[in-house]
Amino acid sequence: MKKSYKYLSITLGALLLLLTTVSLLPAQDTVAVAQDSAVIAAQAAPVATETATFVEPTIDAGDTAWMIVAAAFVLMMTIPGLAFFYGGLVRQKNVLNIMMQSVILTAVITVQWVVFGYSIAFGSSSGALAPYIGGLDWAFLKGIGISDLSPYFISHSQPTADGGTIGTIPHILFVLFQGMFAVITPALIIGAFAERIKFGGFLLFSVLWATLVYDPVAHWVWSGDGWLFKMGALDFAGGTVVHVNAGIAALVMAIMIGKRKNYKGHAIPPHNIPFVVLGTALLWVGWMGFNAGSGLAADGLAANAFLTTHLATAISAATWALLDFLFNKKPTVVGIATGAVAGLVAITPAAGFVGVTGALLIGIIVAVLCFIMVGYVKGKLGYDDTLDAFGVHGVGGIWGAIATGLFATPAIQNYSGLFYGNAGQLVTQLIATGVTILYSGVLTFILFKIVDKLVGIRATPKEEAVGLDLTQHKEDAYTAID
């Protein structure tokens, strides 16, 4: 395992080096831009001039209708979406294990989120901690009434009696929508250590990771108090918070847990490719909730996020098929599915900031990057990221975060990237990405060590050979006996 550490350091080091180098180039107007950003303005300061005929703020049924569905769509991404995308890719003897992991994360993280996760991610704390982590005021959602409006909003808001501003959907709906993100993020990581992890180790690790990595990073980037938010980092629907975060954790986990027995860098064919198609399609559909829902309203911004998401995904899928054809003569189904997911990942942070051109370029480039990464670089580096959780979510997420700093256009929201004259935004994006890589990488490393000590992480060679379905769950996925 010595050698794994080396790889780990090299990869993380290289990534950080890259990022910091670029950061040093044109770093002026960052702060100025950040100042403008009222994107997610929790507990925002007085803004609205109270008009003579003040209208009591109310829930907007249209926005609420869309956000309920958006939350359900994001739920559908994890189960059945991800469960089938990943489940189809593993060998038959491990399919239930991967599906079980998706289902139990949905169950356990939902409870964690209501009990304290939401509060520490989106709540406030006082003093020096405020920019880094929320307090426990909203534990068990206490104090959040059913007709309270969401303190978080983006494009739609309304003035309050006390001169503040507030959203148009119920606060608990915001809690739910965000809760679905908290569920899927650790679920993305499972692709990295698939086919060789103990169930207990996986579960303990995931809950700790959700609490100590996901919740804080979400606070930094999306909470009104968060330091990266204040710095002006743009992350529309979770490029850094979800994909970079999970992707780096995946890389670290893949290296730490070690390769599968008999893994020699060559591919193992998926046991059920139609399941992969099913998962991909439901991810594609559900992702509309993820991205178009992230504006928290049913308006033009949501439509734009839908458009850029759909378009980037489409062209990324097509690009992968083309690369498959050019380099290996045949376009493959797993290839086009991977390309689609890569496109979805990359457009995520940018969906509400870029237009048609940005979406097309983000989609094309992410397919090329991931194609190279999983097809060539991974084999060279020699780590065993079973389902390419890093190769797709990590690489795609980093590219998406950077691309947001390149292609953000004032035609959509009031933010510009490098290509629209604001180099500072790129720097901010690089810093946010670099910080996330560092934090997620280090914490994941530590958590692995702790969990491995406490309950053990790696399945025994025998468990691995027999398969995790039978050894971890005493079940067979398919039984022909009648």
């Binding site: 591919a267 498959d324 380099f327 797993v334 190279i372 097809g375």
Partner: protein, 115 residues
């Protein structure tokens, strides 16, 4: 009575089936197997080209009276051959007895329908 076991390409199955029919072999049983032999076949998985010597094949087996064996073998060879590595093998062994479950008939006459 002899038992013939033929491991053939799945893609030649239709041809072999018809050739057997013409060689008076009307009854047989088959299932899918994986074979390791000289042939190598390839796949692509996320931009990685990989090769596998594990090939999906079909096992055909039937028991027939001795005088039908030669024709049956010839039929399989003609219909199953593509000339490329991996066309498969035929194995012949001896069967001591055969019983038709429906009637209890024993020996060769359990293998055909007298009219």
């Amino acid at each position: 009575m002899k038992k013939i076991e033929a491991i053939i390409r799945k893609s030649q199955f239709e041809e072999v089936k018809e050739a057997l029919h013409e060689a008076d072999i009307d009854f047989f049983t088959y299932w899918d197997v994986t074979g390791i032999g000289n042939e190598v076949s390839g796949g692509i998985y996320r931009a990685q080209v990989y090769e596998t010597r594990f090939i999906q094949r079909r096992m055909i087996t039937f028991v027939c009276r001795d005088h039908l064996v030669d024709n049956a073998v010839k039929a399989i060879i003609n219909a199953g051959r593509t000339g490329e590595l991996g066309d498969g093998k035929i194995f012949i062994s001896n069967i001591e007895d055969s019983i038709r479950i429906r009637t209890g008939e024993k020996g060769p006459e359990s293998l055909f329908i007298k009219d």
